[in-house]
Structures are given as structure tokens and as C-alpha cells.
Amino acid sequence: MNKQRNEKRLDELISRAINTEKPQFDAEKWKRKYPDEYQTLISRASKKASTHRPNIWRITLRNPITKLAAAAVIILAIRFFSAHQDSSEQTDTSTVSKVTKSPVEMMTALSLERAFRHGGIEAVEKQCREAFKPLGLQPGSISIEQMLTEFNGNSKSSERTRL
């Protein structure tokens, strides 16, 4: 029931965003571009819905004392939660984005500012290094013996080709 209502609300928001003529937030495009974030958003909504048990609540809340006690608990819980949430929301620098970013995304001004917030200039440097990291295997240092072996191998194979 709740899940359906949530989905309906989300659909309304999305369709309202799509059907207007003026520039609006393109939710469909956003969903395609950032599927991980969309899934996070949806899964949180569905998780909340699936843990909801309306029948038990309906029975319990018929009692007026239970109603009062429940209201008090809810108010206290909201106060406690919002007090902690507000102070931690913006300064939550311990969470590192789980979404893998492309080198281009890592080199934007805002993305590098975020790195600076986390770990200062060293973090900015690390992110730049990561963005410009060459793909695939890198040639390591090679010894004289290895070079000779390689050279002999190549000359043998070229001799073979000639033969």
C-alpha cells in the first residue's frame, strides 16, 4: 500500500518534470546517467515500505494510552534524529563515494574541491594521479640480462623467419 503510494508519488514527480515545456529537471535522463544513485533512492523508499506492518499498528493504536505514548516516542525520536542528522550531514567527510567515476568526472573543479575537503592538497593530487593513471600494464625496469635475452630471442626468431 505504502510502497504503491511512494511509487505513484515518484511517478507523478517524474512525469511532471518531463511533461512541462519549460526546462525542468530531466529525471529519466538522470536515471539513465546515474543508475546507482537512482537505485539507492528507490531501494531506501522500498525498504521503508516493506518494513511497515499496518495491521499490528492499527490494533495497537486503538488504545488511547498507547496512542499518547507512541506520539511521545515519535516526537522524541524525531528530535533526537534531527539534532544528530543536522550536525553530521554536511561534515560527513568519512564517506567516500562508492560510485566509480571516470577520469573526466574526477578532473572537474567541483570534484577536486570535494577531494580537497576530504584530505587537503594531497587528496587533490591523489585524485589527479588516479585520473591520469595509464591503462593496462606498465613496463617495469629491465635489467641488462633481460635485454640480452630479449635481443637473442628476437634475433633467433628473425633468423627463423629468414630460413
Binding site: 515518484l10 514527480l13 517524474i14 518534470a17 519549460k22 526546462p23 525542468q24 529537471f25 530531466d26 529525471a27 535522463k29 538522470w30 546517467k33 546515474y34 544513485e37 539507492t40 533512492l41 531506501r44 534531527s82 542528522q85 543536522d86 550536525s87 550531514e89 554536511q90 561534515t91 560527513d92 567527510t93 564517506t95 567516500v96 563515494s97 562508492k98 560510485v99 567515476k101 573526466v104 568526472e105 578532473m107 572537474t108 573543479a109 567541483l110 570534484s111 577536486l112 574541491e113 570535494r114 580537497f116 575537503r117 592538497i121 587533490v124 593530487e125 591523489k126 589527479c128 594521479r129 585520473a131 591520469f132
Partner: protein, 390 residues
């Protein structure tokens, strides 16, 4: 018929003349844009982490010169020359597309820092054999490189400050190795005064951030900004939900809020420390509080910059530079009179954390300039040590 033929000939002569006039400027070296040479150096220069670390530590005077450093710097002579040539070019256009708002792509900053280590190591090597003019000239070139970084994005400003701070350290080391010499110190003082004329300022950064924020606070661009600027977590989730439910008025109101916020940030940067720092800290706290109850603050909170930290870095670097300028005056007095002054001469630039002159103390091998005000972020009072060569 004749007229057409003569017109063709005239056109051809004109084309040849244009080519002849423009060819030298096209082929000339160095180019008129320093960024071309920097990008060239970025592509050619390779150094592993160990070497980068060693070069920077040597530049700051933490380790002594060794054969490994000498050989590495010599092998990269061409890169050093390319960077020095770039630093002498007045114009530097990094080719940044500012129409992208906060999503503008920046140059490879790690490469810049690597080149900083290389050039400053190359500055300290001649100082070790007594060629102080070459050594100090290299340092002046790095200040010029930092000026090239005084572009609009916040991160470029921060990297520029880091360049200036490390160069200050390198000059302090060279001055400590150098016997006080009036001529050389006067030359250095003039060079620093010339560099200071082209002020290294936060102003372009603040005005860029305001404009970039406005560009990014649009229905077409906001998702990219949220994606790259905020970590996954409850804050991001709240922002995304508000954006999903947004209409055009939401973006208008958020842009208005942003403009008011940036007015306050700019005003705070005009204040001296510690008032400026306190105001920026308060703005930060207010924004955190506002976010939970006012949807108009959503996008400002999303594009949040740690302004008080940047203000602090700027104060710290300017104080460091003032200590260096004051030290040059003290070294000059030592060169002229043969002894260090008993007290700090009047009229020297002071500690910007307190707005007061430095505390001056003589030591066994030189002198110390100590701040009177505290770095509020690090809860630390800085002191700068200068050695005098006997």
C-alpha cells in the same frame, strides 16, 4: 579580361604578404601562451613518487643534496628549461571551458606539483656551489608560475598558494646558506616587489565561484554538479529528493539564496583575521542549519566550499611572505653593519593572524620571527627560523 588578371595578381601578392608577415609569429619560440609549454612539460616529465618526495624535501631544506637528485635534475634539464621559459611568458591561458560552470575540467595538477619539485631542486643545486643569483632567479620563476595559476577555479588558487609557500621555504634555505650580501639582497627585494605588483588574489576565484554556481544551478546541469560534488549519504539523498520535486521557481529561489550567500562570503574575505575567519565559520554553520528547514538553501549547500579553510590558507601564506620580506630587511642590516639588529625595525610587514608586528628573537645561529596571533583552524602559533651564515 586584363582587369580580372591584374586583380588575381594583386590577390596573390596580398596572400603572399600576409603569409610572410604572419609566419615569423607562428614559428616563434617561446609561444605567446605559457600554458602550451606547461602542457608540453606535463607530457614529457616522468618522476616516481620517491623521486618527487625527495626533490621537494631537498627544496625545503629537509635533506641534503645527493648524487641521485643531481643526476635526475641533469637528465631533465630540457624540462626545467621549458618550464622556466613558460614562467617568463606574461599570458597564460589554460584553455578552460568556463561555460561548464563548476564542471569545468582542470589541468593535471599533480604534474604541476611534480614540476615544482624539479624546478626548486634545480634552484638549490647552484646555491650549494655559491651561485645564489641563479638559485634565487629560479625561485622568482616559480612565483611567476604561481601567478599563472591565479586563474578562477578554487583549486587552482589553492595550488598557487602551495607553490608560493614552498618557494618561500626554498628562499629561506638559500638565504640561510648565503653570506649576507647587500647587492644580492637588494636585487631579491626588487624582484619580490615586482612580483607583488601583480597581486595573487582570491578575487577572481570568488567571482568565478559565484558565476559557476549560477551556471550549475539549472535543471540541465544540476545533476552533474550533485554527482561530482557530494558524497553518497543522507545529505546527498535529501538533495536528490528535493531536486526531483523541483520546479522552475525552486531553481530561481536557490540562485537568489546563492547570490546572497556569495555576497556575505566576499564581504568576509575583505575582513582582517580573525574577524574574517569567524564570519566565514558562522556562515558555514548557518548554512548547515538552514539546509534542514529551508529548501532555497539546497543548492548552495550542494556547491559548498570550505571558505574558512581557504581564508586561513591565504592568511597563513601571506604571513609567511611577510616574514620573508622582514627577514630580507634584517639580513640587509646584518650585511651593512656586520651585526643583527637588537630589535625589529619599525615599518616591516607583520603577522596577519594578529595584525601586529612579528616577535623578534635572536638565536645562536640567526633569528626567529614569531606570530602573535593563532592559526584558529590548527590552534597553532607559527614561528619562522632564519639562519645567518657567519
Amino acid at each position: 579580361m586584363k582587369t580580372i588578371k591584374s586583380r588575381k595578381i594583386t590577390m596573390m601578392i596580398f596572400a603572399v604578404l600576409v603569409l610572410l608577415v604572419s609566419a615569423p609569429s607562428v614559428l616563434a619560440y617561446p609561444p605567446d601562451n605559457a600554458a602550451i609549454l606547461y602542457y608540453k612539460a606535463f607530457m614529457l616529465y616522468q618522476a616516481d613518487d620517491e623521486m618527487n618526495d625527495m626533490l621537494l624535501r631537498f627544496a625545503k631544506g629537509r635533506i641534503e643534496l645527493n648524487e641521485k637528485i643531481k643526476e635526475f635534475v641533469n637528465n631533465n634539464r630540457q624540462i626545467v628549461n621549458t618550464v622556466l621559459d613558460a614562467s617568463e611568458i606574461k599570458h597564460c591561458d589554460w584553455g578552460l571551458d568556463y561555460s561548464q560552470g563548476t564542471e569545468v575540467l582542470l589541468p593535471p595538477l599533480h604534474k604541476l606539483r611534480q614540476l615544482l619539485g624539479l624546478v626548486l631542486a634545480d634552484a638549490r643545486i647552484p646555491a650549494q656551489r655559491g651561485d645564489y643569483k641563479t638559485a634565487l632567479s629560479r625561485c622568482i620563476s616559480v612565483y611567476k608560475m604561481a601567478q599563472h595559476l591565479n586563474e578562477r577555479p578554487v583549486i587552482l588558487y589553492i595550488v598557487g598558494i602551495a607553490f608560493n609557500a614552498v618557494t618561500n621555504d626554498c628562499i629561506i634555505q638559500i638565504l640561510s646558506d648565503m653570506p649576507p650580501d647587500v647587492e644580492m639582497l637588494t636585487w631579491l627585494k626588487c624582484q619580490l616587489a615586482h612580483i607583488n605588483k601583480q597581486s595573487f588574489s582570491i578575487k577572481p576565484t570568488l567571482s568565478w565561484k559565484r558565476q559557476a554556481g549560477i551556471i550549475s544551478m539549472s535543471p540541465e546541469r544540476i545533476s552533474d554538479a550533485v554527482h561530482s560534488g557530494i558524497d553518497d549519504g543522507p545529505f546527498k539523498e535529501k538533495v536528490l529528493k528535493r531536486i526531483l520535486a523541483a520546479d522552475e521557481q525552486f531553481f530561481d529561489r536557490n540562485r537568489e539564496y546563492w547570490n546572497r550567500y556569495m555576497d556575505n562570503v566576499e564581504a568576509a574575505f575583505d575582513l582582517p583575521s580573525p574577524q574574517g575567519y569567524a564570519k566565514l565559520k558562522k556562515l558555514d554553520e548557518e548554512l548547515t542549519e538552514e539546509f534542514s528547514k529551508n529548501p532555497d538553501s539546497t543548492l548552495t549547500a550542494s556547491l559548498f566550499t570550505t571558505w574558512q579553510r581557504i581564508y586561513n590558507l591565504s592568511t597563513r601564506w601571506n604571513t609567511h611572505s611577510n616574514a620573508l620580506k622582514s627577514a630580507i630587511e634584517i639580513y640587509m642590516m646584518k650585511a651593512k653593519t656586520g651585526k643583527l639588529p637588537d630589535a625589529l625595525p619599525a615599518g616591516l610587514p607583520g603577522d596577519l593572524f594578529s595584525g601586529k608586528p612579528f616577535q623578534y628573537t635572536q638565536t645562536a645561529d640567526g633569528f626567529i620571527l614569531r606570530c602573535r596571533g593563532k592559526d584558529l583552524e590548527k590552534d597553532e602559533i607559527y614561528e619562522y627560523e632564519f639562519k645567518v651564515k657567519k
